[in-house]
Amino acid sequence: MKPLRLVPRDTAVPFVKHRLLAFAFSAALVLGSIAAVLGIGLNFGIDFKGGTLIEVRTSEPANIGQMRSDLNGLDLGEISLQEFGSERDVLIRIQRQEGEEAEQIKAIEVVRNTLPADVEFRRTEFVGPTVGQELIEAGILAVGLALLSILIYIWFRFEWQFGVGAIVALSHDIISTLGLFAIIQHEFNLATVAAVLTIAGYSINDTVVVYDRVRENLRRYKTMPLAELFNISVNDTLSRTTMTSLTTLLALFAIYFFGGAVLADFALAMIWGIVVGTYSSIFIAVPLLLYTGLRRGDDDTGDESMLPEYERTVKNGS
């Protein structure tokens, strides 16, 4: 059996040539995302907002209307009900109650006692306002520190220009993921933050692989114009980029469709992140290097005789 090649050997897509188009698209994506996050806002889950969430399963297909009117008669403020995964599963969200934590706990008990006895309580989550605030801070800190450490690592391993390119691409991926969640209004919770951080890891992983090839080609083709060199680097790694993205997407689609309702949103964020992360490595991270004043020799070890034979300079176009 002959192995399948997703990307033919002699592929030479002019990615870098069309960079302005990609920049325009990405700028629109990022600005749109920022507008969506600021304008519509993220639909924060109880992890961040505080409040109560109860997941119940009924023995018959749930009569959500009946449950809603029962619960709304309780004078607990806004209570939202939503089918969750199947028609017997209902997610009940109770808004934060006036007063201290004790009031919130009381509300859970009232709701539990109001629903019919044959209802199975599958999950109860309560997050008080204190913890919610702390979780927000920890989330922001985690994302911030992860970005910073990645930046420092790339700076250390490459040149600062690569670090800048990587962080721009990374921010692009994170902001557009936030934008997606603002637009589709799916719940933004702790699992989503985990997804965002994983996207950051994946996106940077992808970018580093392409940068690695750029660095290698910088040493190899001493006289090739940078734009052409970048394009060759992207095409060189295109096969790997698509292969890895596809295998990861296969696994994520398995989680999305079969992993249960709790993980579905997590998988959705990741799927988006992989797609946009792959795109940004190719269309943003590499072409951006053209504008960072990257010079040949910045990253040169200098003495070619130290390199293995295959690392030494090859004449342009070989």
Partner: protein, 513 residues
Amino acid sequence: MMQFDTWKTILVAFVCLAGVAYAAPNLMQKGIGDDLPMGVPGKQISLGLDLQGGSYLLLEVEADVVVQERLEAIVDGARRALREARIGYVGLGVEGDAAGFTLREPADLERAREIAAELDSDATVSVEGDRVALTMGEEAIRQIKINAVQQSIEIVRRRVDETGTREPLIQRQGIDRILIQLPGIDDPQRIKELIGQTAKLTFHLVAVGADAGRPPPGARTLPMLEGGDIVIERRVMVSGENLVDAQPSFDQNSQPVVTIRFDSAGGQRFGRATSENVGKPFAIVLDGQVISAPVIREPILGGSAQISGRFSVQEAQDLALLLRAGALPAPLTVLEERSVGPGLGADSIAAGEIAAVIGLVLVVGFMVLCYGLFGIFANIALFVNIILILGALSALQATLTLPGIAGIVLTIGMAVDANVLIFERVRDELAAGRSPINALDAGYSRALTTIIDSNLTTLFAAVFLFALGSGPVKGFAVTLGIGILTSMFTAIMVTRLFVALWARRRRPTSLPI
């Protein structure tokens, strides 16, 4: 020639065997190997509460209350001492984290300062004009809080143990928080009720005839359980600290009551107080509320007493339990609660397994399709990788959560990345005109730096998730982090071993890649 040192072969074999040894118990019946010490193969992966069902409660000890009580005790002490020493004062009270009073006669300053210095060894005495203040320093407050939390944990543990919960985990978090994990409990309502009361029991004499609106000094007004207010003397006759036992029982009218027994000191004090006050009412105070205020008909000398208060049977049982376990030094507040029923936990495991199997089949098929024989090598490494992850989780006794399962499935997708990098590199080298063996060698050595760079950056994200994430998210970080390390190992070592063995035996003239 593909070099693969003997020591590397041994290392690979050893690691794989260790992985199998640690992972294998998970296939056996649940609960096997629970008693084995840490680090010995045989332990199973411990499931998070979201998978096995159970409750997670985060409590805050309102330790400020303890500090306030301490300051109020200083005030009480100061009142008595100043009165005894016949020193005139005004404005005695608590302000912020200081207790203080102002002298009527500045001449009393030296004596007042001496008295103040003896009131509480942790407080710092300061004088400003003719005002004497006792301030609790930051260190003293911290110590008071730490003690209060320590004590609370002890009491909470006793109360939870009384309910018969199996394997509760109760530990301190931060300075003033307590984390409780209750496996198998999906409605922690009863536990919350039990820990929601401080259960501070005191007996006081009732200040008969006092005005509830303006209680005289040394007395205070408290609400009654059956409604209305009552004025009691602040001085405690005897308190719950002197209890040795409390049991639910019934009185002569078949009403549920709690029978308590005092220790010898408590019994004596109670006996003396009741002897001296026959015919007067006394108040039984629980958590700032007067449960009942019976009249003392005769001295109670036996060291035991009954608390009646229109309890239900359950209430009497709970009160007895609380009194036996002891009073909390300060009220506890539930900051966070996450409970998962056993049904959802089992469903989550099942869904996670299905997702993992389907993800695995897809990835494995895809790899064979794209890389042929080398895809099979990568797939063997993938299976080794999964075994190593499960083995590492068992060995480290890390908790597997639902997001953790997602982490494993994600790792299945990402784990092949290192192999993809290598195989693509080998293809490049072949295309550049290298011989098959040369291409393999060059492919592996050149892909290595890329693999390390790219995986390390993902590892950073996992480390920060672990450090700053909470609960289930931590579980995700653990599997992701372990997955990155094991996938680097399997790609660099395991597939390479297979490829080297294959190349040595076949001496290929072309690569099926």
